[in-house]
């Protein structure tokens, strides 16, 4: 097979892109599809044809642009003019946009000065903090390229890192580079990635597996989905590099079945990569083989836990198994396996290309690089954001998020989903990084960040998260299976105004047993939302109990 020349492909794509006078980027992620981007795109396409502009203007269906609450989104890039972002589009507006913006800008460039006033109302300045405060590494290409197009990805520097790794680097050098970058697992655990790879690389075995954990399950989090939908090749490239580093014989993507679009795009991307021989045999003429395949989850949050994920691929119940043995020693089908989160892998190609030191220059002493968050809840600009580690929560919520959507004051921000906790308003100056969040009883988690306003009832929030983990408990170990439910019953009792003063102690007692004795992370962290709200909002719990006590006295 002839070796693919990345530069040739890249030049060809750039030349083609330059042949257009304007490019219209239409966000085609799950969120925007749900808000109707497909009919908008059709309207744009027919509008362009009507104005005889379809040869001069390219429509680029992209992955997530981030501003999910304001979809459908179209970013208009006319040559030599500043880009304009249209929000909350509909087919009629789209046709007007073509007629009043694209058409005059292209056909009468001398007289066209700016977007007409009535259309400006449907745009958002790309100079708003939502965009300017972000630093994009993982999401760099998402929203800029056609996710399915391997050539587009190559044109933006894609697969250079893979070529470099397979042709010029030893596995040890790759691991060294990743270790230097300070990258930590983005799935929530935060274990240093370089060290993790090093552990599996050391183990000898006839077979070894690299596994990508795409079983994103935190309610209110969809970072991995957007990365897979918006830039699947980055994940594949990261996976191949990781596989090379640990000496994998095959690779497995484990993706939630609830993400059909992500699966479809990933599948197409793998096939394209295989055609270019970036996946398969004798990659870049290195003599090294590595193929990858997709397996689907089936609706079990606990499968985000490594050992449960492995059991699930094997066709078993997703029940975690005790560690040791660790998957790095005895994992999938009993062979050494290395499980990495989607976002972790998506960081890899850039780290290789730009160097570990570059990545380490961003962030804090112990949390390097950037982190993608799904900023949702009662926030004005809700969507997918990427920020440097160490940025304050306040800046994320108030500047990037634009404050609450309700106009009410922020009460707290929840991070880490059902394994995390709440950060009250008074602590919002907190820099976002693994260790600081932990100090306040929450965790970084996979990237869910939920804004709550004054109206939100914290006992109810705790109940929501605990209800989630109770539903998702695999049922194997007693502390989680029964403890979670009893804890939930106790919370419900308090929420219903039937709590007694001693119930709070009982709550803490049960939470302790669950934390200390559950077999896996799901059970060990399930009480966190309760303990965290109990810590910061004890008055809300107390108020409900007092109400009950005083009601009885009357």
């Amino acid at each position: 097979m002839p070796k693919v020349n990345l530069k040739e492909i890249s030049d060809r794509v750039h030349a083609r892109q330059k042949s257009f006078k304007a490019r219209l980027f239409v966000c085609s992620s799950t969120g925007c599809i749900a808000s109707g981007c497909k009919t908008v795109m059709e309207a744009v396409s027919s509008g362009l044809k009507g104005h005889d502009l379809d040869k001069e203007v390219e429509i680029v269906p992209t992955g997530c642009m981030g501003l999910c609450s304001h979809g459908p989104l179209i970013r208009v890039e006319v040559v030599n003019r500043p880009p304009v972002l249209y929000v909350e589009m509909n087919p009629m507006l789209a046709r007007l946009m073509v007629a009043e913006h694209i058409e005059p800008a292209l056909k009468r460039p001398d007289t066209f000065t700016s977007v007409p006033e009535f259309l400006l109302e449907h745009t958002l300045s790309l100079e708003t903090p939502f965009f300017t405060d972000q630093v994009k590494v993982v999401l760099e290409n998402s929203g800029r390229i056609v996710p399915e197009s391997i050539d587009d990805y190559i044109a933006d520097g894609g697969y250079q890192a893979l070529e470099q790794v397979f042709t010029k680097m030893t596995p040890q050098e790759v691991i060294k580079e990743i270790t230097e970058s300070g990258l930590r697992g983005r799935g929530g655990g935060g274990f240093p990635t370089g060290r993790k790879w090093g552990l599996t690389a050391q183990i000898q075995g006839d077979e070894k597996f690299i596994i990508c954990n795409g079983d994103e399950g935190d309610p209110g989090a969809y970072m991995d989905r957007s990365v897979l939908e918006g830039n699947p090749h980055a994940v594949i490239e990261g996976m191949m590099i990781a596989g090379y580093a640990i000496g994998a014989t095959s690779g497995w993507f484990y993706v939630r079945a609830e993400y059909p679009l992500a699966v479809e795009r990933l599948d197409k991307a793998i096939k394209a990569a295989r055609r270019y021989n970036f996946v398969g045999k004798d990659i870049f003429g290195s003599g090294r083989d590595l193929d990858v395949d997709i397996r689907l989850g089936a609706g079990a949050f606990v499968c985000g836990e490594e050992t449960a994920l492995i059991a699930s691929i094997e066709g078993k119940r997703g029940s975690p198994t005790p560690r040791p043995p660790y998957p790095s020693v005895k994992g999938l089908w009993g062979k050494p396996s290395n499980v990495n989160n989607v976002e972790t892998l998506a960081n890899i190609p850039t780290i290789i290309r730009r160097g570990g030191a570059w990545f380490a220059s961003m962030g804090t002493a112990t949390s390097k690089g950037t982190k993608v968050f799904a900023l949702t809840g009662k926030v004005k600009h809700s969507g997918l954001i990427e920020v440097p580690m160490g940025i304050s929560l306040k800046r994320i919520v108030e500047s990037i998020g634009g404050g609450t959507s309700t106009g009410k004051a922020i009460k707290a921000v929840q991070t880490g989903g059902p394994s995390g906790g709440v950060i009250p308003r008074s602590e919002l100056e907190l820099p976002v990084c693994y260790d600081e969040l932990k100090k306040l009883g929450s965790i970084m988690g996979s990237g869910g960040m939920i804004v709550m306003d004054e109206n939100d009832d914290m006992v109810d929030i705790a109940k929501f998260y605990l209800g989630f983990t109770v539903d998702e408990s695999c049922g194997k170990c007693a502390p989680c299976r029964i403890g979670g439910k009893q804890l939930l019953l106790l919370l419900e009792k308090i929420a219903d105004g039937k709590g007694k003063p001693e119930d709070l102690d009982h709550l803490r007692e049960l939470a302790l047993a669950m934390k200390k004795a559950s077999l896996c992370g799901l059970g060990q962290t399930a009480p966190n939302p309760v303990l965290s709200t109990l810590h910061f909002f004890a008055d809300e719990y107390q108020a409900k109990i007092d109400l009950n006590v005083s009601a009885k006295k009357d």
Partner: protein, 581 residues
């Protein structure tokens, strides 16, 4: 060796030793519930948590190996508090119907609650409302009492490879059940009862028929007769303070007589008859050659059930000879009934077996009504008998040594060793030698087939012939043997063995599913040693030397494999399911 510190004491253990084992070696008992020394740990209950220095959470002692330099604390106020909380949680999801539970006094959860001094419960009850499944009439599944320890599914799936039980649903709804909305009787269950022998609580237990037997014993019209299987005598003592393996045959005879049985027979006699028939069958098949070999033993009803379900292509290699239990049953209601002139329908025949599948065997085919009546009315397990002895108010430990009754009570050492893996084989070889060569052999012991290795092979010289034999126990091991036979047949080759002994339970009947709880390899070996010891010390050690057996053939049956023998001692097999498990 690994050096570590346990509760401040320096310890040294082999690599791979779990904290639980290490603690045991250091005379420290860590409480457990889901852990069973006979099975790989499931790590489900969390009762055995301990602290390991620098570990963020407590670790399960059952699955955590001791690491170099590890500092382990097995007991402090916090650990006890956590264990207590877990126990309270488990009790909140348990019906706590101890007084009406078969496991009352023998329950591992009850014992823990006592150890921890649990005296009250503030937690709301989370007991699921699920029906009892007694469809097999051998074992009963009461999922309400289940603590989800996973022992039964591990035994059923991993040890026995039967896959009748599985863990369905998840979270609080997780439940042990057959696959789908079916009952156990409609599942691949072979009724081996290993699940019931390993259950820590009263969630899976033998189908209890003590009441039926008491009723018959009180019925003046009934002539109640009992037989006891070999393995029962070396396990029954465990509930009365004897060490496993203590042979209590004499006390058992006395106890049964005191309970009201008019005749006490011994299944060991039936075992001697089985050898006469099966030995003859073996000789016949060896002579015939061709596709008639191998001969596979059929004393084990769980194995018979298993074969009919999954290995029905092996039916032609099965010995048609019934089990010793069935033979004594058939003879009691024919030979014995004639002798004393009692109508067989007045006889109530009870068998005491180490086995739950025997409850099924007595009705498994028309052949089990060889006397014209159901040959055995009720089959009880060792555990049921133990309970009945208590109910009868007998001081078992101080009972006199009794004798079994004629004509179905006297047995040889060959009959005794039927209760252990390799025993049937050894007994058969002793008699086969005589049948083939016409001469007695002095070589009566074949040590290699008495070990607990899953598949044991041996070549024995009988006359000028090399007889290749195989002994397998534990159904997963059996499958391996059957597969090898199948492959040889497929390839048109000689089968790898002439004669194969199969027992569904590990260790053979001494490890049966109806035996006393808490079996481990150590216990299996101790029980087996009790049987071996009796054989080695017996005057008569060849089945064909049993004078009562000789008399039986002279007076009643004629020759082995005769027409009468076929009517009473032989059965047939049918393919019974296509279940792939």
């Amino acid at each position: 060796m690994i050096n570590a510190i346990l509760n401040g004491i320096k310890i040294q253990v082999e690599p791979g030793t779990s904290i639980l084992q290490a603690a045991h070696q250091a005379q420290v008992k860590i409480p457990t519930l889901c852990y069973h020394p006979d099975l790989p740990p499931t790590a489900s209950c969390g009762i055995c948590v301990v602290k390991v220095k620098n570990a963020p959470n407590m670790m399960r002692a059952c699955t955590t190996p001791v690491g170099e330099g590890m500092e382990i604390t097995t007991q402090d106020a916090e650990i006890v508090a956590v264990r207590r909380s877990i126990l309270e949680l488990i009790l909140s999801a348990h019906p706590n119907e101890c007084l009406t539970c078969l496991r009352n006094g023998e329950c591992e959860l009850q014992r823990l609650a006592e150890d921890f001094g649990i005296s009250r419960s503030d937690l709301p009850k989370l007991v699921p409302s699920l029906p009892i499944d007694d469809s097999t009439k051998s074992i009963v599944l009461d999922p309400r009492k289940c603590v989800r320890c996973g022992r039964c599914t591990v035994v059923c799936q991993n040890v026995q490879n039967v896959w009748a039980l599985c863990m369905k649903n998840r979270g609080l709804d997780a439940v042990v059940a057959p696959a789908g909305d079916i009952q156990l009787a409609d599942s691949p269950c072979v009724r081996c009862g290993q699940c019931s022998a390993h259950c820590p609580v009263g969630a899976i237990y033998e189908y209890n028929q003590a009441e039926e037997v008491w009723k018959a014993l009180l019925d003046k019209e009934k002539h109640c007769i009992v037989q006891i299987a070999p393995a029962v005598r070396v396990s029954i003592g465990e509930t009365f303070g004897f060490a496993p393996g203590t042979n209590l045959t004499g006390k058992l005879y006395t106890a049964l007589r005191r309970m009201g049985f008019q005749q006490v027979f011994d299944t060991n006699f039936g075992a001697d008859v089985t050898i006469m028939e099966e030995g003859s069958e073996l000789v016949e098949r060896i002579t015939k050659g061709g596709d008639s070999l191998p001969l596979i033993t059929t004393c084990c009803p769980a194995w018979v059930d298993f074969m009919e379900k999954f290995d029905s292509d092996m039916i032609s290699y099965f010995s048609s000879c019934k089990s010793p239990q069935a033979i004594v049953g058939a003879l009691t209601k024919s030979y014995y009934a004639e002798k004393i002139g009692v109508s067989p329908d007045k006889i109530f025949m009870v068998s005491i077996m180490p086995c739950t599948a025997k409850k099924f065997e007595i009705v498994r085919a028309k052949d089990m009504f060889a006397s014209g009546h159901q040959d055995i009315d009720v089959s009880l397990t060792t555990r049921e008998l133990a309970r009945m002895i208590r109910q009868a108010g007998l001081e078992f430990a101080s009972l006199d040594e009794g004798e079994a009754d004629s004509p179905l009570g006297r047995y040889t050492g060959a009959g005794t060793i039927f209760g252990e893996t390799g025993g049937v084989m050894e007994a058969a070889l002793r008699t086969a030698h005589k049948l083939v060569t016409g001469k007695e052999t002095d070589n009566l012991e074949f040590a290699p087939i008495h070990t607990l290795e899953g598949v044991k092979e041996l070549t024995v010289k009988i006359g000028d012939k090399d007889i290749k034999v195989c002994v397998a126990h534990g159904l997963r091991n059996v499958e391996e043997v059957v597969d090898r036979v199948r492959q040889a047949k497929k390839a048109g080759q000689e089968p790898p063995w002439h004669f194969i002994e199969v027992m569904a339970c590990l260790g053979g009947c001494v490890g049966g599913g109806g035996q006393f709880w808490g079996v481990t390899d150590k216990v299996r070996l101790e029980r087996a040693a009790g049987l071996t010891k009796e054989d080695r010390g017996a005057k008569l050690r060849r089945s064909h030397e049993n004078p009562d057996v000789k008399k039986l053939y002279d007076e009643f049956i004629g020759k082995p494999l005769s027409e009468k023998a076929h009517t009473l001692f032989h059965t047939h097999y049918v393919e019974r399911s296509l279940y792939r498990r």
